[in-house]
């Protein structure tokens, strides 16, 4: 049944979408999750910061760099959030937001109107503590990474508890502060087991299958992986967060390639520079990639604008395009995958 990804993977850079917009408006601010709707609309969750709350919202863009507005805001009222951590879209094009501080899941309809929210704080089955990853399974149930409880719980979309997997630890099937979650084309569940520096794979019924990775920065090793995505062809992409890269594997965890980022100026950025001629001129002599005198990947990313800086979330769309969302650069880079 499982889709085999045996051939060699190639990733070709397509474009960068984004712009720093810390008070709202066209662009993003410290985004943490991305979700692509079946009509190509791209939803980006800006977690922003607690001291500049107007930046907190969901922005909508497309690959043609059109901005389609934003919704949601900081607060505790229905339809608001205080520490949004993850988003997911279901088959009815409803969007769900996980708030890892309020411990609630908020549902918006396809017109971005608030529908309902649910979630109760605690560590009993069905209760939440720090929901930080969301994905819908093939039957329309919602898998919630309940990260302070070191588990993944399954709910109906209305919040009725079904089952859970995991628990605190480093053995097979246990988690240490898990973060992102993805569903493979065959329904298998992939979890970024963040502080165990590995990705675990489960059958659709929650049975442990296998896991990959250990702490480090070599090929196939991870430093705090934050998210995972799986293409229709079975290739697996891991946001290797503290190593500031995205690693790709075939379905048998065979290492394929690694991306460090190669962002270019988005049209939003270009328009900005056109309005600020002094910056545009100063940028003419700007060399984005310089030889750095540090080995700390976070520091390297801070100094090189085109590299990923905190690549927090990865997504693959139906056309095989890989989206890499970067918190600290307020943008996402898009790559076309192909296999030969």
């Amino acid at each position: 049944m499982t889709t085999q990804a045996r051939s060699r993977l190639e990733l070709k850079y397509l474009t960068t979408v984004g712009f720093t917009a810390d008070f709202g408006g066209r662009g993003f601010h410290l985004p943490v999750d991305i979700s692509i709707r079946n009509d190509g609309r791209i939803f980006v969750m800006s977690r922003s910061s607690p001291i500049a709350t107007p930046g907190m919202r969901i922005g909508i863009a497309d690959l043609k760099h059109k901005f389609h507005g934003e919704f949601g805001s900081f607060g505790t009222d229905p339809g608001q959030f205080t520490r949004p951590a993850a988003i997911a879209i279901n088959g009815q094009n409803h969007l769900f937001v996980a708030d890892d501080s309020l411990n609630r899941i908020t549902e918006f309809d396809s017109k971005n109107n608030y529908v309902r929210h649910w979630g109760e704080t605690g560590d009993k089955p069905g209760q939440l503590s720090g929901p930080s990853g969301l994905v819908f399974d093939r039957t329309g149930n919602l898998l919630v990474v309940d990260h302070l409880n070191h588990r993944v719980q399954m709910f109906t979309k209305d919040g009725r508890y079904i089952s859970q997997i995991g628990g605190s630890g480093s053995r097979r099937g246990q988690f240490c502060f898990p973060w992102g979650i993805a569903l493979g084309p065959d329904g298998r569940i992939y979890v970024a087991d963040w502080r165990n520096d590995r990705v675990q794979r489960f059958a659709p019924d929650g049975e442990f299958i296998d896991m990959h990775g250990k702490s480090g920065s070599a090929e196939g090793q991870f430093n705090r992986p934050s998210d995972v995505a799986v293409g229709a062809d079975g290739f697996i992409y891991v946001a290797d967060w503290m190593n500031q890269r995205v690693q790709a594997f075939d379905s048998e965890w065979k290492y394929q390639t690694s991306l460090r980022g190669q962002a270019t100026l988005s049209p939003w950025a270009t328009e900005y520079l056109a309005a600020n001629d002094d910056e545009r001129r100063a940028r003419e002599s700007f060399k984005p990639v310089i030889e750095v005198d540090t080995v700390d990947p976070h520091e390297v990313s801070a100094r090189i604008e085109s590299y990923f800086w905190d690549p927090v979330a990865v997504e693959v769309d139906s056309e095989g395009r890989l989206y890499v969302l970067e918190t600290n650069r307020h943008r996402f880079q898009v790559y076309q995958s192909s296999s030969s």
């Binding site: 910061s49 100063a282 100094r303 918190t327």
Partner: protein, 507 residues
């Protein structure tokens, strides 16, 4: 499970947790205990009662060694912080950078490293106010932790290559043939010798020697800073660049030495000077021992304790410019331990805030409280990473105005009066357990011990005992539960008043 997760993290951190300690100091604090609490206030942010008791068993000199060579430098891990507070990863704005430092200061096992970073942040005052982005200053502070107790030559050289410092003092505009003297002047006036130990010509030659010491991508990075803009994609952290083609290779004479001097040679010559040793000693004295007159007056006013300065300067030379050795000599000296020195220096805002938080706890896991703590330092007049000018903060009485006083008193009493903080909870429980609440004098004594052996003046102590007597007298005689709650409120009120005293404002 949440609790489980957090306690697990704490094990990960290998935090220095107080050992089980049977012996309780019930008599007034011994001199050893008083000295150790003094040392922890100056070389750190004050100790909890447990810490002080534990170090008392270790002994004073061994405590000095522990502080100078901490066995663990763990604090709240950055990966955890960055995941929860995404704004503390790009470290762009001051609320985030200040909060990030608060985490370090409150949770570290190596408080002297933070104290020394605070000293160099004060002397080499570099501010986001001009540089806009905070990341590069956070990197500078990391360098202060790494080198701040080591060889002064290494520190001064790293500072001269520090991109935040170079931009702060406009050295990107210091070109061969077009000298900008800002850095060349301040390295002599503010960072090493002080006015009166060199000539204007030395400044000029020093500036020439630092031509070509700049940052990569100067035009664009400078323009972004000038325009105060994080657009399009956030800031680009700066990197040091030595541009030999822009360096003045001509002959220079600096403090009597002649040659094709470059920045490295200048730093060598600076570090050989007795004036440098004395100037640095005076800064250490000002920061760790007693408030000095404002720095601009130093050329005209002799040090408060010239012998102390000479002792530290001797340690500087005999150790090969080691700051750590200067401090070891200081902490073990008579002048540092003397009664006149103890509880005589006005706490900086950071000492008030971090000291309160280390007593109260509540930082075992990321908390939004950290932003309030950082902002409070600013309200009291010490915005972290935002010194008011190149001269940093003067300190001393300048820390205290009516507005700042209100902030200091209210902050400490709010934090220490919050029983939801685990440290406060522990203090209340311990005080209640001891049965001290039956007698006002015992109650006050017990509270003061738990506030790091806080010493009060006779009059103050009498008044607080009087206040406590009133609280104890008002305790209901009713049921146990009702009484317990009332006892707890009384204990909290005494704790709050104790940190509202003048004595608590002193270190």
């Amino acid at each position: 499970m949440v609790r489980d997760a957090k306690s697990r993290l704490q094990k990960d951190l290998a935090r220095m947790s107080p050992e089980e300690n049977g012996a309780m100091v019930t008599t007034p604090a011994s001199i050893e205990t008083q000295l150790i609490s003094h040392l922890l206030r100056r070389a750190g942010f004050g100790g909890t009662r447990d810490e002080i008791d534990r170090f008392s068993k270790l002994g004073y000199e061994a405590t000095v060694e522990h502080l100078l060579n901490p066995p663990s430098v763990e604090s709240m891990p950055q990966d955890i912080i960055r995941r929860y507070h995404v704004d503390q990863s790009d470290l762009r704005v001051q609320p985030a950078t200040g909060a990030n430092w608060i985490y370090r200061m409150v949770t570290t096992n190596a408080p002297l490293l933070e104290k020394i970073a605070l000293l160099w942040h004060r002397v080499f005052a570099t501010g986001q106010t001009k540089l806009i982005q905070g990341k590069v200053i956070v990197t500078q502070l990391e360098m202060f932790r790494r080198l701040g107790l080591g060889n002064y030559r290494d520190l001064l050289l790293a500072l001269s290559r520090d991109p935040a410092m170079l931009m702060w003092l406009d050295n990107q505009d210091n070109h061969n043939g077009a000298i900008n003297e800002n850095f060349g002047r301040e390295i002599l006036e503010l960072f090493s010798m002080g006015v009166g130990n060199y000539t204007e010509h030395d400044i000029y030659e020093c500036s020439r020697a630092f031509t070509g010491w700049t940052i990569a991508n100067t035009p664009y990075n400078t323009q972004k800073m000038r325009n105060n803009t994080a657009r399009p994609y956030g800031y680009i952290a700066w990197q040091f660049k030595y541009d030999d083609s822009d360096h003045d290779h001509g002959e220079k004479t600096f403090l009597g030495k002649t040659g094709d001097l470059n920045g490295e040679e200048i730093v060598d010559i600076i570090c050989e000077q007795r004036a440098t040793a004395r100037f640095i000693a005076r800064h250490l004295y000002h920061h760790f021992v007693a408030d000095e007159v404002p720095v601009p007056q130093w050329p005209h006013v002799p040090p408060k304790d010239p012998e102390a300065i000479e002792l530290m300067a001797d340690a500087y030379f005999s150790s090969g410019y080691s700051i750590g050795e200067m401090l070891r000599a200081t902490f073990n000296s008579g002048f540092f331990k003397s009664e006149a020195t103890r509880n005589a220096r006005i706490k900086s805002p950071v000492e008030v805030v971090v000291g309160s938080l280390r007593l109260s706890g509540g930082y075992e896991w990321p908390t939004m409280d950290v932003y309030d703590a950082s902002a409070s330092c600013g309200y009291m007049g010490q915005g972290l990473l935002a010194p008011p000018s190149v001269e940093g903060w003067q300190g001393g009485e300048e820390w205290v105005s009516t507005g700042a006083m209100m902030q200091r008193v209210n902050y400490a009493s709010r934090i220490i009066g919050d029983p939801s903080r685990p440290g406060v909870r522990e203090i209340i429980d311990a005080v209640c357990r001891s049965g001290a609440s039956r007698d006002a004098e015992t109650l006050v004594d017990e509270c003061l011990r738990h506030l790091g052996y806080l010493e009060l003046g006779v009059e103050t102590q009498r008044e607080i005992v009087e206040f406590a007597r009133g609280q104890v007298a008002q305790l209901p005689q009713g049921g146990v539960k009702q009484r317990d709650e009332a006892v707890e409120r009384a204990v909290i009120a005494v704790l709050q008043l104790a940190v509202a005293t003048r004595e608590f404002q002193l270190a």
